[in-house]
């Protein structure tokens, strides 16, 4: 068997290294262009202990997002946000110290063309990419362009993904495997879905690539529980609801610090 870490790119190497110290991974999400000084949120996320940051490039028709991230996208677009402007903003900030992972819908990739899109990400200092409406069987072209540009295209796995396909997703995913915790859209939920543990366990049977659980994770308790199953969590709607309610970088830093502590406690606990 080949050693997967040899082929791994910087995002995956970074996440593996941190995971291997016993740390639960935290990847907060922010919608690019949501406020005039939106890149300040990135600094706050890092200060709170983020291990990677997901930056959403807003799309007019986000068919996999719930109301909060829809609203965040609409707000950013109404402010004039675009792929070009968001990437220009990112290019203008000091190296954040953790990998930046762009997420967007496939239309925005196609609009620029896969190669040009990935090259632009690269120039802006982005090293990972998530495209939730681009499933495995349609991903060949973008996966190739991303690999050529040094961008790690992370694929999503869902509770409904059947077995041979799940193994293929784990194998072809780069950076990490994005485990969608539940059958639903993004958005805060009262509890971690039962499907999260089972899906994570199934993914783990086929790969030791980092597995991040996303969709619905919004509280320290949920992060702690998610950390018991996966290598880490993605937190989107819980962040963006606060941003939409006017929370600034310091408020978000305080909120994410509570998730950081929860993940750290979980890792200290005996297994």
């Amino acid at each position: 068997m080949t050693n997967p870490t040899l082929a791994a790119g910087p995002v995956e190497r970074h996440l593996r290294a941190r995971r291997d110290t016993g740390r639960g991974l935290l990847m907060p999400y922010v919608t690019g262009g949501i406020t005039p000084g939106w890149t300040d949120y990135l600094r706050a996320f890092v200060a709170a202990g983020a291990d990677a940051i997901e930056v959403g490039l807003p799309f007019s028709d986000p068919t996999l997002d719930g109301v909060t991230i829809q609203q965040a996208g609409d707000t950013a677009l109404a402010r004039g946000a675009s792929t070009r402007r968001i990437l220009a903003d990112l290019a203008g900030i000091p190296e954040p110290g953790v990998p930046l992972v762009a997420s967007t819908y496939y239309n925005l990739v196609l609009h620029d063309g896969s190669e040009a899109f990935c090259a632009a990400l690269r120039r802006a200092g982005v090293s990972g990419l998530i495209v939730p409406d681009l499933p495995l069987h349609e991903a060949d072209e973008l996966a190739e362009a991303a690999a050529a540009a040094g961008i790690e295209l992370a694929l999503l796995a869902s509770p409904s993904t059947p077995e041979p396909r799940l193994a293929e997703i784990s194998r072809r995913s780069r950076g990490f495997v994005y485990a969608v915790s539940l059958m639903g859209t993004t958005g805060e939920r009262a509890a971690l879905a039962a499907s999260a543990a089972e899906l994570t366990a199934r993914i783990r049977r086929g790969t030791d690539r980092p597995v991040l659980l996303g969709f619905g994770i919004s509280t320290p308790d949920q992060a702690r529980e998610a950390g018991r199953h996966a290598d880490g969590v993605v937190v989107g709607a819980a962040v963006m609801r606060r941003v939409l309610d006017g929370a600034g970088p310091d408020d978000l830093r305080a909120f994410l610090a509570t998730l950081r502590r929860a993940l750290d406690q979980e890792c200290d606990a005996p297994r």
């Binding site: 007019s60 239309n107 969608v180």
Partner: protein, 401 residues
């Protein structure tokens, strides 16, 4: 300026409008760009449809419903007085006479039967004009299924009659308040909802859009329009085949079903879009709602809202097979304005005693214009699908009269 995409000569017809290629491709268009959580559900629909469509029992049950419940076959009516005025021989395929008042019932009976066969107990649908929603609610009632219909708030206002009809039929109508509050947003919302209920609900897509297998499946369920019209033309016309076949295009289901019956004939196929919603005529390649097709977009790749007086055409894209037919030059796509469509509706009412849906009036508006400017040669035969009746549009038309 109204837009006209070109036909190419000679007309290529071999194999067009057959089964899509692997992975649901019509040429370069189509595909299954669904979130991972919907991929398995799409695969199940495809497997069930393939099996059902090859099963004479399923075909027979559908044919019986179409006859006994929906009133098929619908007539092919010569529009005598209007033909005389226009100088062409115009025939109308009367989908307005199908049960619930439009062609949407053809697709919905097929999908509802399929859903029941798959053991689903609920239909989810999006609707613009409300005709697909009414049809879905009707089929659900007929087969003992539940129905949940997503409809943009703006469309609920302008198609209030259909909202009432759906509720009367026992469906739940969910207002969609996001985006342009029209068909595009209702479709997004229906997809979001489906992700959470794939186990017991079938997403009954209302046009030839969406992830594979929907564009193909919906066209097959609508091909009854074209197959009937083909046979009726063969019986009625000296030439057997009309010179021109015309239909309006929103997502493109009545046009796809109509064209499918004539794809292998020399008939010229024309799809008529609303000037402000011309996905096929003016869209650029993109991916939305599960397929790679043509969509109206701005310079940043954001989908731009469509605008049409006809709620059922108010969609910024077009089904992938139309994008392909356009690319081949087998069909061409033209646009007409709101005013032309409204004028055509009134003209048909007064010459033929038929009040058409505003969607269908678009097709007629182009026939009127093309007969006037000589694009339709004098004396040529035109088979136009009249996709629905105009009752739902009375309040819109009242403001214009």
């Amino acid at each position: 300026m109204p837009y006209v995409s070109p036909w190419r000569e000679p007309v290529p017809s071999e194999g067009t409008m057959g089964e899509p290629r692997a992975r649901g491709r019509f040429g370069e268009y189509g595909g299954r760009y669904a979130p991972e959580s919907l991929v398995e559900a799409c695969r199940e629909v495809e497997a069930a449809f393939r099996e059902a469509w090859a099963d004479p029992g399923f075909r027979g049950a559908l044919a019986e419903l179409l006859t006994l419940h929906a009133g098929r076959p619908t007539p092919l009516t010569p529009a005598r007085r209007l033909s005389q005025e226009l100088g062409v021989r115009l025939y109308l395929k009367r989908e307005d006479l199908a049960h619930t008042g439009s062609h949407k019932i053809n697709n919905v009976l097929g999908q509802a039967l399929l859903a029941a066969r798959m053991g689903r107990r609920r239909l989810i649908a999006e609707t613009g004009a409300g005709q697909h929603g009414v049809a879905a609610a009707t089929a659900a009632a007929l087969l003992g299924l539940e129905a949940t219909v997503f409809m943009g708030e703006r469309d609920m206002e302008r198609q209030a009659l259909n909202v009432f009809r759906m509720r009367m039929l026992g469906a739940e109508v969910v207002p969609v308040t996001t985006g342009s509050r029209t068909l595009k947003d209702a479709t997004s919302e229906a997809m979001r909802h489906w992700v959470g209920v794939t186990g017991d609900s079938h997403y009954c897509v209302g046009s030839v859009v969406g992830p594979d297998p929907y564009p193909w499946m919906v066209r097959e369920f609508q091909r009854v329009i074209g197959d009937e019209a083909r046979a009726q033309c063969a019986a009625e016309l000296r030439t057997g085949v009309p010179d021109h076949v015309v239909a309006c295009v929103g997502g493109g289901s009545n046009a796809a079903g109509t064209f499918a019956g004539f794809a292998d004939t020399p008939a010229r196929l024309t799809g008529v879009e609303a000037e402000g919603a011309a996905g096929a005529a003016r869209g650029r390649p993109g991916v939305l709602h599960g397929s790679h097709s043509l969509f109206l977009q701005d310079d940043d790749g954001q989908i731009t809202p469509a605008h049409s007086i006809a709620a059922g055409l108010d969609y910024p894209g077009v089904g992938p097979e139309h994008a392909h037919l356009r690319g081949l030059g087998r069909a061409r796509y033209v646009t007409v304005t709101d005013d032309e469509a409204a004028g055509a509706a009134i003209r048909l009412a007064r010459t033929e005693g038929i009040v058409p849906a505003l969607e269908s009036a678009h097709a007629l508006a182009w026939v009127i214009r093309a007969a006037g400017d000589g694009e339709l040669a004098a004396g040529s035969t035109v088979m136009m699908t009249l996709s629905g009746r105009g009752d739902k549009d009375i309040s819109t038309l009242k403001e214009l009269l």
